[in-house]
Amino acid sequence: MLEVANLEVVYNEVILVLRGLSIEVPEGNIVALLGSNGAGKTTTSRAITGLLDNHEGKVTKGSITWNGKDITHTKPSQIVQSGIAQVMEGRRCFGELTVDENLATGAFTNKAGQKKQYERVMELFPRLQERRKQLAGYMSGGEQQMLAIGRALMAEPKLLILDEPSLGLAPLLVQQVRDVIKELNADGMSILLIEQNAMMALSIADYGYIMENGKVVMDGDGKKLLGDDDVKEFYLGLHQGDDEDSGRKSFKDVKHYKRRKKWAS
């Protein structure tokens, strides 16, 4: 179980990005973390995996606990070793390395399980099998996303964090990514799924958080959020009935506006 409690993250000593964020990923669950651009989703992922240093970022308050152990200031390599792997935003495959070599980097902390995981990845993504010796840089976006997921799986993680895996993928591929996530989860892996594609994420999530400006503004069961009118309206732009206000600015505004409407009627 991963617990993020009251997390505050500051970039460059001055830019406050996370303002008391609290989320949980219980063992074996799929948890969706949603939010618009700049909400702080990627920052959350960096904080959990120890990559803030690379961006002059710091955790200034709060804590991150993984299976009872505080990992707030742990080195990235130790975090991977402890069972948390991630698929970074934008895939970040090593373009000058072959598919096989990219996968090998994912197993850097998992030499013992490298062979087993390699076979598992090839089984999940048969396409990679055909491209084993190809340079990752020359592959399509969809193939690179599969490679990025496969690379993260090489570490044999207990918790997998995916940062916008559906970004820039055709609907059919989004579907495939979704199925893979479900399959991994069925094998017992916990998933923290960061997405802009709320429908895709919530359709498989046990629980969901919606964040804005570095804070959670709403959370609840995946199914419940999926059925929630506010979520629908904000993410899908499904304007209902007499809604004449088109200047939607943020999720909060939608909620306030709605609430006001409810209260007034």
Partner: protein
């Protein structure tokens, strides 16, 4: 014609040594993005160590005798010499580790220019040790074949030429396999995208350390084979020549591309061919610069290549900085 073959052999031999030296720069640059300006003093320290170990039968600055050394009055046989070479290369790797730990690691995250200047400072800091160890003049590296040569059809080929080619081939194969090994792949991943490499759990510090260890060992290997008979200061490790000589390798890596293994080898051979042939033939035709052409021509070649291909013949077009 005899002159031509001799000149060609000399060029290939020198090119092999340049290639070894170039590989040293490339590995360190690929792994840490730092141009190692300490290569001169570092490689010379290693070559001196070899000389002290195998010729003086002692250790630099220490009052011990080398238990493995050849008996008094004898030079080491081939096997014994190679054993010593391997020991010295291991010590060189250790020196690389220490340098990385003490001077490079604390600078991580600083501008690359600052790191390059740090290595230049190291070059200057290591030199006095070299000076102290050599006492006065050049020292022999104690090769078993000494100044022996082969004669083929009237042309004379020093045995050191072949030794240099063999050493370069071994260095190239070693680097080739390293690149495909666990840590080699990790190093290339770090070079491509440091953050993504960290996200895979790759320990970037360890990759830096390995790059410096390997780079230092290659630098010393190059210096040792340059301290053999036909090369300038009559086959000795010399304070006058060695530190400067390393800067002559600069055109090699710039020509080949700073981060390319193939480039280091090709660059080494091309530069050496221009250098040796210019020295042999241009100097005969005109008396203006005399042997000076061999010094200038490599830089001219480098300049022309840079104008056409700023990233070198084999270098990565856009060298990333993360």
């Amino acid at each position: 014609m005899i002159i031509f073959w001799q000149t060609l052999a000399k060029a290939i031999a020198l090119g092999s040594i340049y290639a070894i030296m170039g590989l040293s720069f490339v590995i360190i640059f690929k792994g840490t993005q730092v141009l190692n300006f300490a290569a001169g003093a570092l490689s010379m320290a290693g070559a001196l160590f070899m000389s002290i170990l195998v010729v003086d039968r002692g250790f630099p600055f220490l009052p011990f005798t080398n238990p493995l050394a050849p008996a008094d009055g004898e030079t080491a046989g081939l096997a014994l010499w190679i054993v010593h070479l391997v020991i010295v290369l291991m010590i060189a790797a250790l020196m690389g580790l220490v340098i990385e730990r003490v001077a490079i690691r604390p600078m991580v995250g600083q501008p690359l220019f600052a790191m390059a200047v740090i290595t230049l400072g190291l070059e200057i800091a290591i030199r006095p040790f070299n000076l102290d160890a050599t006492a006065i003049s050049g020292r022999s590296i104690g090769v078993p074949w000494g100044t022996e040569t082969w004669e083929i059809g009237g042309a004379i080929f020093p045995k050191s030429y072949l030794a240099a080619v063999v050493a370069a081939a071994i260095a190239f194969v070693a680097v080739f396999f390293f690149y495909r090994s666990r840590f080699g792949v990790a190093m290339r991943a770090v070079a491509f995208d440091q953050e993504a490499a960290m996200a895979q759990g790759i320990n970037v510090g360890r990759v830096f350390a390995i790059a410096w260890a390997l780079g230092a060992a290659l630098a010393v290997l190059g210096a040792i084979f340059f301290a053999m008979s036909p090369w300038p200061p009559a086959g000795t490790v010399s304070l006058e020549i060695h530190p400067i000589w390393v800067f002559r390798v600069l055109p090699v890596i710039i020509l080949g591309g700073l981060d390319s293994v193939a480039g280091a080898v090709a660059g080494g051979l091309i530069i050496a061919i221009f250098e040796i042939f210019a020295g042999q033939y241009l100097s005969q035709w005109t008396s203006i610069l005399g042997p000076g052409y061999s010094t200038i021509v490599p830089y001219l070649v480098m300049l022309v290549v840079l104008l056409v291909r700023p990233y070198g013949l084999f270098g990565t077009e856009e060298i990333r900085r993360v």
